[in-house]
C-alpha cells in the first residue's frame, strides 16, 4: 500500500467514525470548547453548498451525487456530464393494485441529456431518429436535434469540484405521464381509466447511486376511476391508489455498439433510423437489428473455432418470489439458451442468477438488471419486452414477466390438445413434470424475445402432418421449427401415439431458432466496412433459404386481409385439412370421455370441467379459423434482389374450394357439442352449437371479401364470385329445392342476410343511425388472432412504409391499388337473388318457414330497394 492510499484510507475511516461533526455529537473529551470553536468557524466559512446540505437525510454518491433533504431530491453533477447521453426508466417497485401495472414493469425509456445555460440546468429529451455518414450533414443535424427541454432547473449551489447542484424533486414527485404507474399493458388498460395525482399523499422514499447509474424511489398516490369503454359505465370510482416507482438513470457509453443491419427475411426486432447520406438524394430508412453486445473475450481463440466466453455475458436474475416449484423450471429454461450460443462459439453467454441477497447494489427495479419476474395476478399471459440504446439497437435491458394464470393457459392447452393421447394429463391436477416442462417452453419463448427474436409464425407450417405422428421425427424436431411460433402441443397425435414414442411438446429449440441466433450474434471479422458486412449477413440468409424450408421466417399476421395461412397462431403442420381433421376427431374423443376422467373430488363444483368445455369449443373454432384462412389467403415471402423465391403465391383454387366444402360439412355436424351427458352436469350453458354456428357463419360469410382482394395477386385461383356462389348454394339450396328448413338453416339464412347487409352498409331494422359508413373497411381492422401469450412487443412501433420488397419491416404489404372486386353492387345482387328465391317459395313453404322468409324479405326491403 503506498502512502497516498494509506492517507485516503484513514480519511475514510475517520469520516465513518465521526459522521456528523456538524451535529456536535462527537466523542471528543474537550467537547464543549471544540464545539464552540467549530461552530464559530463553520458560521464564518460555510459555503452555500454546505448550508444547503446541513441536515440532509442521505447522500448517495455515484456518477451523479444524489442528495435527499426535507423531502426534496437534489442532483449534483460534474461539468463533464453535461451533454452526455443518458436514459431514464421508471419501474414499479410496489403497487396497491397490480391490475394497473405489475411489479417490475416499465414504461418507455426517456433518452435525454443535461445541458447548462447561465444559472440553470436543462433536462433535454433527445431524438435518435437520424444518422449520417457525412460530417457536414452531421453539423447541420446537430443544430436540428438540440433536444426539447423537459425541465429547466436553477442551480442552487456549486459543489466542491465546481459541480452543479439543482433541485430535481419535481422529476420524481409529479404526475409525469411518461413515467406513470398506470401502464398500457396492464389488466385495467382495456378500460377507460382516469387518474388524479395526489401530491399531498406522495413522497420520496430512497435514492441510490453507483458508478454508471443512479436510482430514486418515490411513493406516488393517486385516485382513479375505471369505466367501460363500450358502455361508459363506471366500474370503479375514486379508488385510492399508491405505487412506489424506482426511476433509474443510466449513462450511455460515448461510443455506440456496432450495429447489424436488419433483414426482413429473418425475425429480429429492429431500431429504425433515417439516414441522411451524402451519396443519397433523399433520406433513407435503415433498420438495425436489436441485439445484445456480445463480443468474444478472446478473438483469436474464437476465430480458431474454440469455445470462448463473451466479454460481458447477458445476466438474467430470477425473481425470488416465483412459486417454489416453478423456480427450477424457470432457471433451467433461461440457462438452456446457452446451448444455442455454444453452437456459434460462445460459452456462458447467458448467466442465470437468483436475486442475490449479499449484494447491496443489486436492485431488481433498476433498469440495469435483467429480471425474470413473477406477477401474482389473474392474467393468462407472459411477456418478454426489451429496451434498447436508441442509437444502435443494442439491447440494454430486458425483462420477462410471467403472470400467475399462465398456469390456466397451459393447463387448458395441455388438456384440450393432448389428453386424447396422454392419459397422464386427464386430470385437473396436471403432473408437475408436464406442467413444468410447459412452463419452460413459455420462459424459453419469452427469453427468445429478450434476445431480439420476433415471432416466427410460419415455423410450424413446414412440418409434414404425418411427421407429427412419427416418434423419430418428433423426438428430433418436436412440433415446430421455432419456439418463437405460437405452436403449442401436438394436437395431431392420436390415442396410442404417446406409447409409441411420439412427442407431444414443442422442441427445446427449433432449427430456425438456432439459425436466427447464429445470424444475429456471429461476429463478422475483417469485412472492412459496414456495407460489406451487411452484404455478408444478407448472404447468409440468401444461402440458408436455398438449403431448407426449416429456416423460413414468416411474420406475425396482424390483419386478416391478405392473410398468409402458413403464418397462423396455434396451428400445426403443412396440411391444414389433415391437421384439423385429426384435431377435430380428438376433440370429439375428449368431449365424450373427459367427464369420466375427472375425479369429482378434485372438481366438486365442476368449474374445471366447465373451463375445459369452453376450451374445447374455442379449440374447435381455432381449427375452423385455420381452415378458413386459406380461403382468400395469400402466401407472402420476403425477397431481396437475387432471391429466386416468388413473392406472392395464391392458394390453389381446388384447395380453397375443398376447404370451403369441408367447413360447410362441419357446420352441419356440430351436434356432438350439445352432448347431453356433459351439459346436464355443467351450469346452464344453453346450446353450444348455436354459438359455434354463429361464429362459423361470420367467418364463412366474410371469406368472399378476402378472396376478392387476394385472388389474382399471383394467379387466378378462386374468385370471390365462385366463393360467394358456393356459400349462396350452401345457404339457399334447401329453399331452392322447396325443402322444409331446420332451425339451423333458418339461422344461417338470417345470418346471410344480416351479414351481407352489414357488409354492404345497407341499414337493417334495429341498426342505430350511426351505422359504420362501410363495414367493408371495418373488416380490415379485424383479425383472427386468438388468445396468445405476450403482447406489447416494442417492434409494434415500426414506422411508416418506406422500403417494401413485400412488406419489409411493415406488417402488411401495400395494397393501395387493390380494393378488391367485391362491391356494394355485388352484395346488392346476392341479396336480391336471395330475396327473389324467398319470394318464389314462401307461399309453398310451411307456416314456420313462411314467417321466416317474410321477416327476412322485410329485412332486405328495409333498405335494399
Amino acid at each position: 500500500m503506498n502512502f497516498k492510499k494509506i492517507i485516503l484510507a484513514s480519511v475514510l475511516i475517520t469520516a465513518m467514525v465521526c459522521p456528523a461533526p456538524a451535529n456536535g455529537n462527537t466523542i471528543w473529551p474537550f467537547k464543549k470548547k471544540q464545539k464552540t470553536e467549530q461552530k464559530d468557524t463553520a458560521a464564518t466559512k460555510k459555503s452555500k453548498y454546505e448550508k444547503l446540505f446541513e441536515k440532509e437525510k442521505k447522500v448517495a454518491k455515484g456518477f451523479i451525487t444524489v442528495h435527499l433533504k426535507d423531502g426534496k431530491v437534489y442532483f449534483e453533477i460534474a461539468d463533464s456530464l453535461l451533454g452526455r447521453e443518458m436514459v431514464m426508466g421508471s419501474t414499479i417497485k410496489s403497487i396497491s393494485d397490480n391490475a394497473n401495472g405489475i411489479v417490475g414493469s416499465k414504461d418507455e425509456l426517456i433518452h435525454f441529456t443535461f445541458t447548462k445555460s447561465d444559472s440553470t440546468i436543462q433536462m433535454r429529451q433527445l431524438t435518435s431518429d437520424y444518422i449520417t455518414d457525412d460530417s457536414n450533414i452531421e453539423k447541420a443535424l446537430s443544430r436540428s436535434t438540440i433536444g426539447a427541454v423537459l425541465r429547466n432547473m436553477k442551480i442552487k449551489a456549486y459543489g466542491p469540484d465546481s459541480s452543479y447542484v439543482f433541485d430535481v424533486t419535481d422529476i420524481f414527485l409529479s404526475d409525469d405521464k411518461k413515467m406513470s404507474p398506470f401502464l398500457d399493458n396492464s389488466l385495467y388498460s382495456s378500460y377507460s381509466r382516469d387518474d388524479s395525482f395526489k401530491k399531498d399523499l406522495s413522497f420520496i422514499v430512497d435514492a441510490k447511486a453507483f458508478e454508471d447509474n443512479i436510482s430514486v424511489t418515490s411513493s406516488l398516490s393517486y385516485s382513479y376511476t375505471l369505466k367501460s369503454r363500450t358502455s361508459g359505465k363506471k366500474l370503479l370510482k375514486d379508488q385510492p391508489f399508491t405505487a412506489q416507482l424506482t426511476r433509474s438513470i443510466l449513462l450511455l457509453p460515448k461510443k455506440i455498439y456496432h450495429p447489424r443491419m436488419a433483414d426482413p427475411r429473418i425475425g429480429y426486432f429492429f431500431t429504425e433510423r433515417d439516414l441522411f447520406s451524402s451519396q443519397q438524394e433523399s433520406s433513407k430508412p435503415v433498420f438495425f437489428a436489436n441485439r445484445w453486445r456480445l463480443e468474444p473475450s478472446d478473438t483469436a481463440a474464437y476465430r480458431q473455432g474454440k469455445l470462448v466466453e463473451p466479454v460481458k455475458p447477458i445476466v438474467y436474475y430470477i425473481d425470488s418470489n416465483f412459486p417454489e416449484w416453478w423456480k427450477p423450471y424457470v432457471r433451467k429454461a433461461v440457462g438452456e439458451w446457452n446451448q444455442v450460443f455454444e453452437e456459434i462459439g460462445f460459452k456462458n453467454a447467458i448467466v442465470v442468477k437468483d436475486f442475490p441477497t449479499d449484494d447491496p447494489s443489486f436492485d431488481p427495479d433498476n433498469i440495469k438488471y435483467n429480471c425474470v419476474r413473477y406477477a401474482p395476478i389473474g392474467i393468462a399471459n407472459s411477456m418478454g419486452p426489451s429496451w434498447v440504446d436508441p442509437r444502435s439497437g443494442e439491447i440494454i435491458n430486458a425483462s420477462v414477466y410471467i403472470y400467475h394464470d399462465v398456469i390456466k393457459l397451459l393447463t387448458t392447452w395441455i388438456f384440450v390438445q393432448t389428453s386424447q393421447a396422454d392419459p397422464d394429463v386427464r386430470t385437473c391436477n396436471i403432473p408437475k413434470a408436464i406442467l413444468g416442462d410447459a412452463l419452460e417452453y413459455v420462459v424459453r419463448h419469452e427469453l427468445g424475445h429478450t434476445l431480439g427474436l420476433m415471432h416466427n409464425m410460419s415455423a410450424s407450417s413446414v412440418i409434414p402432418v404425418d411427421s407429427l405422428r412419427s416418434p423419430s421425427f418428433t423426438e428430433k424436431y418436436g412440433t415446430t421449427t421455432s419456439i418463437m411460433d405460437y405452436a403449442r402441443f401436438n394436437y395431431v397425435a392420436q390415442p396410442g401415439d404417446k406409447e409409441r414414442g411420439v412427442k407431444l411438446t414443442p422442441p427445446t429449440f427449433g432449427t430456425y431458432d438456432k439459425w436466427a441466433i447464429r445470424w444475429g450474434y456471429t461476429p463478422v471479422f475483417d469485412a472492412g466496412s459496414f456495407k460489406k458486412e451487411t452484404e455478408i449477413t444478407k448472404g447468409w440468409i440468401t444461402d440458408s433459404l436455398k438449403k431448407a424450408p426449416f429456416y423460413r421466417y414468416g411474420k406475425q399476421q396482424l390483419y386478416s386481409i391478405f392473410f398468409d395461412p402458413r403464418c397462423q397462431n396455434e396451428d400445426l403442420g403443412n396440411d391444414v385439412m389433415k391437421a384439423s381433421e385429426y384435431g377435430i376427431k380428438n376433440l370429439k374423443y375428449i368431449m365424450s370421455n373427459y367427464m369420466n376422467w375427472i375425479n369429482d373430488k378434485d372438481d366438486p363444483e365442476y368449474k374445471f370441467r366447465t373451463q375445459i368445455f369452453m376450451g374445447i369449443l374455442n379449440q374447435y373454432l381455432r381449427y375452423i379459423q385455420h381452415l378458413m384462412a386459406n380461403v382468400g389467403g395469400l402466401c407472402k415471402n420476403e425477397v431481396i434482389a437475387g432471391d429466386s423465391t416468388k413473392r406472392y403465391m395464391n392458394i390453389p383454387g381446388a384447395k380453397q374450394k375443398a376447404i370451403m366444402e369441408y367447413v360447410m360439412q362441419q357446420y352441419k355436424d356440430l351436434e356432438w357439442m350439445d352432448d347431453k351427458a356433459v351439459l346436464s352436469k355443467l351450469p346452464i350453458i344453453g346450446k353450444p352449437s348455436f354459438a359455434v354456428r354463429n361464429a362459423m357463419q361470420s367467418i364463412m360469410m366474410t371469406a368472399p371479401y378476402y378472396a376478392s382482394l387476394s385472388d389474382g395477386v399471383a394467379t387466378k385461383e378462386y374468385s370471390y364470385e365462385q366463393c360467394l356462389d358456393d356459400i349462396f348454394d350452401f345457404v339457399w339450396t334447401p329453399t331452392k329445392r322447396g325443402r322444409r328448413l331446420s332451425a339451423g338453416q333458418r339461422e344461417l339464412q338470417t345470418d346471410f342476410v344480416n351479414n351481407y347487409m352489414s357488409m354492404g352498409s345497407f341499414k337493417k331494422p334495429g341498426d342505430s343511425d350511426k351505422l359504420a359508413a362501410t363495414e367493408l373497411e371495418a373488416l380490415e381492422d379485424g383479425d383472427f388472432n386468438e388468445e396468445s401469450f405476450e403482447s406489447g412487443d416494442n417492434a409494434l412501433s415500426a414506422g411508416l412504409l418506406k422500403y417494401s420488397p413485400v412488406s419489409g419491416f411493415e406488417w402488411l404489404p401495400r395494397y393501395v391499388m387493390n380494393s378488391g372486386e367485391m362491391s356494394k353492387g355485388s352484395i346488392y345482387g346476392i341479396l336480391r337473388r336471395a330475396y327473389d328465391l324467398m319470394k318464389a317459395h314462401k307461399n309453398t313453404a310451411s307456416a314456420e318457414d313462411k314467417a321466416h322468409y317474410e321477416l327476412l324479405m322485410k329485412t332486405i326491403e328495409y333498405s335494399v330497394k
Partner: protein, 814 residues
C-alpha cells in the same frame, strides 16, 4: 383434500419506512413538533380519552395516536343524531363505503392506508405471498403531518379534521338511502354550513359530532329530480379500533346460504380464483353475542324483540355452544353509549319507514361480524298492518282491526325480528324454506305445533297462508313462531367448532350430504330471472297452486269484509284510500310467484349424489296450468267490485275489474317467461316448446275475442300483448314505428314494453320468427272476432287491434 390456507394480512411494506421522508405537504408553520406542552396548554382545548386521545380546538379536531395503535386497523362510521327529515332519522347509518383503514407512521407523517386486499395463498407457498405483498400493497388514503410528539415520544399528534369531513363521501354518504319516498342519487355538502359541535370517546372509539347541511339529488321514477332537496343534521362520525382478528376463515359452499366476503386465492399449480368466506361471529373460547335493547321501545315490544332474537339460542345449544346470545336493556350510566358502533343494538328510530331495517359491521379480511344494529322504525305499525290485514285476517281476526292488539303486534315483531336476526348471524336468505311442508301438514294442528310452518325463517314467510278460517282455533300455528330445521342446520354449518386436526372441510361436506333430499333442508337462493320456481317470495308450502288459491281466498275475504273494519273516523284517510289497491297488488304478487312455474327449471345439486338430475323442468301440465290459472284469475276479478262500500271508501272507483283487464297481460309475469320457456326446452329437456307456449298464451288472451266480445279495457291488455310480440323482432318494431309515425300513433309506439330478459343463458336463439308467426295468428283471430262480433264498439276496438298487428307485420294495406 385438506387445503392449508395461509392468510396474508398485507402489512405496510417495509420500504415505506426504509428512508425517513419528510412530507411534501406544507409543514405546520405555527408550531414545531417539540411544542407538545404548548399544545396541551392551549386555551379552549377540549380533550376526551379513548383508545386515542381526541382534542377539539375551535373548528379543528386533533388526534393523539400512541405507538400501540400504529399498525392497527380502524373503522370510520357515521350515523344521524338528529335531522331535518324523519326519513333520515336518529341512528340511520350514513357511513361511506370505504371506511376501514390501517394506521401507519413514518418520521413525519401518519398514514391512513386502504385495507389490505383479502388474498389467500393455498399450499402455503411463501414466495407467492411475498410477491403479493408488493403487488397488492396498501394505498395511502390520508397522510397527516405529525404536529407534535408527546413528552416521552410514545405518541404523536395530528390535525385530523379531514378524517371526519362531512363533505367527504368516504365519511358521510347518503347515496341509495330513502328520502321522502325517493332514493338519494347524490349529495352535495355545503362546506360553509358545517360546524364541529363536540367530541366523543367510547371504549374502543372516539368520534366527533358535527352539524352539516346538504343538497340532495333524488331519483323520482326513472329520472333525477332537478329540484334538489335541502337537508341538515347532526352527525356522529366515529373512529373505532378493530381487533386483530385471528378467526379462521370458513370457505363458503354454494349448497348452503351464507353471507359472504370475497377474496382471491392463488395456488402454485392452479389459476387464481375468486373465493368466498362466510361472514360469521367469532364464538370461540366462550365468546357471546350481546345485543342491547333500546328502553324507548315499550316493554311488551321489547319482550317480543328479545324472544325473536333469543329464538336462535337453541340452535347454538344444539351444537354445544350454549346460550350464546344475550339480550339486555340499555344500561343506565356506566359509560354505555348506544352510539358506540361496536355495540350491537336494537333501537327505536322515529322515522317514517315501515319495516325493520339494520346493518352489519363485518371485518372484510376474515369475515368476522363485529356488531349489528336493528332499527324499529316509527311507522312500523303501518308495516305490520299491511303485512297482516290482507294476508291472514280471515284466519286470525285480530288483524282486522286498525288498532292492533299488543299480542297481535308482538307476534309479528317476534317473527320478523327472528327472520332478520338470522341474517345478522350470517345466514343468507333461503327461498326454498317456505316449500318445506305440504298443504296438509300446514293445516294440521299437531304438525305445525311440532314443526312450525317453514323450513327457514330467512325465507319471506310471516303467516301461514295455507291456514283457513277456523284453523287457528283448532290449534294450527298461523305465524312463524320458531326457527326452522334449515336454520338449525345453517347455524351448525357456520358455527360448529372442530377440534384441532379434524378435517373441517370434510366434516362440513358430510353435514351437507347428510341433508340431501330432505325437503326442509333444501336451499335455493334468490336468482336473477327466476329460472327456479322455488326461488320466489309470497308462497308457502310445496304446492304452488294450493298456495296461490289460499292467498287468493284471504284476499277475497278481505275485499268482502274490509269496509266494516275501515269504517272508523280514527283511521287515517290514506290508509283507507289505498286499502283496495294494496289488495290488488298483493294479488299481483301471488300471480307473479305462480308465473315462475312457466319455463321453470329446478336446479338440483348433483354433488351430494342425491340421484336427481341437475336440471329438471317443471312438468308441462303444471306450466300450462299456471298460465290458465293466472289468466283465469285475471278474468274473474269481479269479486273486487262486489263490495261497493269498500270501493267508496277507497275513492271514486267504478270497477277494479277494469283495471285488472287492462293490466292482465303486463302484470301476469308471463311477459318475461318466453326466454325461460325456450331455455327450459333446450337446457332441461322440457317438452313445452316456445311455439306451444305462445299458442297457449294467445288462446288464453283471445278467449273472448274469438266470441267477438271484449270486456271493458280488455283491448288495452291485448294491445300490450301485441306490442310485446312486436318488440321481440327488430323487423316488426321497425315496421310498427314506420307505420305509426305516418299514421299518428307514434305516442303509443313509445310505449312498447322494454325487453325483459334477465335469464342467465349463454346462448340464446332468435325468437323473432315465432313472435312474427304469433302476431300473424293474432291478426287472424282478431279478424275472425271482428267478423262474428255484433257489438259496434267491440268492432271498433278490434279494428284498432288489427291495425296494430298489421303495422307490426308490415302488411301492405293497399
Amino acid at each position: 383434500m385438506k387445503i392449508k390456507i395461509l392468510s396474508i394480512i398485507l402489512a405496510l411494506t417495509a420500504t415505506v419506512m426504509a428512508f425517513s421522508p419528510e412530507s411534501t405537504a406544507k409543514k405546520p408553520a405555527e408550531k414545531k413538533t417539540d411544542d407538545y406542552a404548548g399544545f396541551i396548554a392551549k386555551k379552549g382545548l377540549i380533550k376526551k380519552e379513548g383508545f386515542v386521545k381526541i382534542y377539539k380546538k375551535g373548528k379543528d379536531v386533533y388526534l393523539e395516536i400512541p405507538d400501540s395503535v400504529i399498525g392497527r386497523k380502524v373503522m370510520i362510521n357515521s350515523s344521524v343524531r338528529q335531522s331535518s327529515s324523519p326519513f333520515l332519522s336518529e341512528g340511520t347509518n350514513v357511513s361511506g363505503k370505504q371506511s376501514t383503514y390501517q394506521i401507519e407512521k413514518t418520521d413525519s407523517l401518519v398514514l391512513f392506508l386502504a385495507p389490505a386486499p383479502s388474498i389467500c395463498v393455498k399450499d402455503g407457498d411463501e414466495s407467492i405471498s411475498r410477491a403479493i405483498k408488493k403487488s397488492q400493497a396498501q394505498a395511502i388514503v390520508y397522510a397527516f403531518p405529525i404536529r407534535y410528539r408527546n413528552t416521552d415520544s410514545t405518541a404523536v399528534v395530528i390535525k385530523a379534521s379531514k378524517l371526519f369531513s362531512p363533505s367527504d363521501k368516504k365519511v358521510i354518504d347518503f347515496r341509495a338511502k330513502e328520502f321522502n319516498g325517493n332514493l338519494i342519487y347524490d349529495s352535495e355538502c355545503k362546506a360553509d354550513m358545517t360546524q364541529l359541535k363536540s367530541i366523543k370517546a367510547y371504549s374502543k372509539s372516539v368520534g366527533v359530532v358535527q352539524e352539516a347541511s346538504y343538497k340532495l339529488t333524488v331519483v323520482v321514477g326513472f329520472f333525477l329530480s332537478s329540484d334538489k332537496k335541502a337537508f341538515s343534521g347532526d352527525f356522529l362520525s366515529t373512529m373505532t379500533l378493530l381487533g386483530n382478528s385471528d378467526m379462521p376463515k370458513r370457505i363458503t359452499d354454494d349448497r348452503i346460504g351464507t353471507d359472504k366476503i370475497s377474496f382471491t386465492s392463488f395456488g402454485s399449480s392452479q389459476q387464481s380464483k375468486t373465493e368466498y368466506c362466510a361472514a360469521r361471529w367469532d364464538l370461540r373460547k366462550g365468546r357471546k353475542i350481546t345485543v342491547y335493547l333500546d328502553t324507548l321501545i315499550n316493554p311488551a315490544w321489547r319482550a317480543a324483540v328479545k324472544e325473536g332474537i333469543e329464538a336462535w339460542n337453541p340452535a347454538f345449544e344444539k351444537i354445544g355452544l350454549g346460550k350464546v346470545i344475550e339480550v339486555r336493556d340499555f344500561p343506565d350510566g356506566s359509560g354505555f353509549s348506544a352510539e358506540d358502533p361496536m355495540i350491537s343494538t336494537v333501537r327505536y328510530s322515529p322515522g317514517e319507514r315501515e319495516s325493520l331495517y339494520g346493518n352489519i359491521h363485518t371485518d372484510n379480511t376474515t369475515g368476522e361480524i363485529l356488531s349489528i344494529n336493528i332499527s324499529l322504525p316509527g311507522n312500523y305499525l303501518n308495516g305490520i298492518r299491511k303485512a297482516s290485514a290482507y294476508t291472514i285476517s280471515d284466519v286470525d281476526t285480530r288483524y282486522q282491526d286498525y288498532n292492533l292488539s299488543t299480542g297481535a303486534v308482538c307476534d309479528v315483531i317476534r317473527a320478523q325480528v327472528m327472520g332478520l336476526f338470522g341474517k345478522c348471524l350470517g345466514i343468507g336468505a333461503n327461498y326454498a324454506g317456505s316449500m318445506a311442508y305440504s298443504p296438509e301438514q300446514l293445516r294440521s294442528p299437531a304438525f305445525t305445533k311440532a314443526h312450525g310452518i317453514t323450513g327457514s325463517v330467512t325465507d319471506d314467510v310471516l303467516f301461514n297462508i295455507m291456514a283457513r278460517p277456523g284453523d287457528k282455533e283448532k290449534g294450527v300455528v298461523t305465524i312463524t313462531d320458531r326457527i326452522g330445521p334449515y336454520d338449525y342446520y345453517a347455524i351448525e354449518w357456520l358455527y360448529r367448532q372442530f377440534p384441532k386436526g379434524k378435517d373441517e372441510e370434510a366434516a362440513l361436506d358430510s353435514l351437507i350430504r347428510s341433508k340431501k333430499n330432505i325437503p326442509e333442508y333444501q336451499y335455493v337462493p334468490k336468482q336473477k330471472g327466476n329460472p327456479d320456481p322455488r326461488a320466489v317470495a309470497y308462497d308457502l308450502g310445496n304446492d304452488p297452486f294450493a298456495s296461490f288459491e289460499a292467498g287468493l281466498s284471504h284476499l277475497k275475504f278481505t275485499a268482502a269484509n274490509a269496509d266494516k273494519w275501515l269504517d272508523h273516523d280514527y283511521i287515517p284517510e290514506d290508509y283507507r284510500n289505498l286499502f283496495i289497491e294494496w289488495v290488488w297488488l298483493k294479488q299481483c304478487n301471488y300471480i307473479y310467484s305462480l308465473s315462475s312455474l312457466v319455463g321453470g327449471i329446478y336446479e338440483n345439486d348433483i354433488r351430494t349424489g342425491n340421484g336427481l338430475p341437475h336440471f329438471a323442468p317443471v312438468p308441462v301440465t303444471d306450466q300450462k296450468k299456471a298460465i290458465n290459472t293466472i289468466m283465469d284469475a285475471f278474468r274473474d276479478m269481479s269479486w273486487m267490485d262486489k263490495n261497493r262500500k269498500l270501493l267508496d271508501i277507497s275513492g271514486m272507483y267504478s270497477s277494479v275489474d277494469q283495471i285488472t283487464n287492462a293490466n292482465a297481460f303486463s302484470q301476469s309475469g308471463l311477459i318475461s317467461r318466453l326466454d325461460n320457456v325456450a331455455m327450459a326446452n333446450r337446457v332441461a329437456g322440457s317438452s313445452y316448446s316456445p311455439e306451444e307456449y305462445l299458442t297457449d298464451v294467445q288462446n288464453s288472451i283471445m278467449k273472448n275475442v274469438r266470441k267477438g266480445k271484449l270486456k271493458a279495457q280488455e283491448d288495452v291488455s291485448i294491445t300490450r300483448y301485441l306490442f310485446w310480440l312486436i318488440q321481440n323482432s327488430p323487423v316488426m318494431t321497425a315496421n310498427y314505428k314506420e307505420a305509426t309515425s305516418a299514421g299518428g300513433k307514434s305516442s303509443l309506439a313509445e310505449n312498447l314494453t322494454p325487453a325483459i330478459s334477465d335469464v342467465p343463458e349463454v346462448y340464446t336463439a332468435d325468437l323473432g320468427n315465432l313472435c312474427y308467426t304469433s302476431l300473424e295468428k293474432a291478426r287472424k283471430i282478431l279478424s275472425y272476432g271482428r267478423s262474428v262480433s255484433k257489438d259496434a264498439y267491440a268492432k271498433g276496438k278490434l279494428d284498432y287491434l288489427i291495425s296494430i298487428a298489421e303495422d307490426g307485420l308490415g302488411t301492405d294495406k293497399k
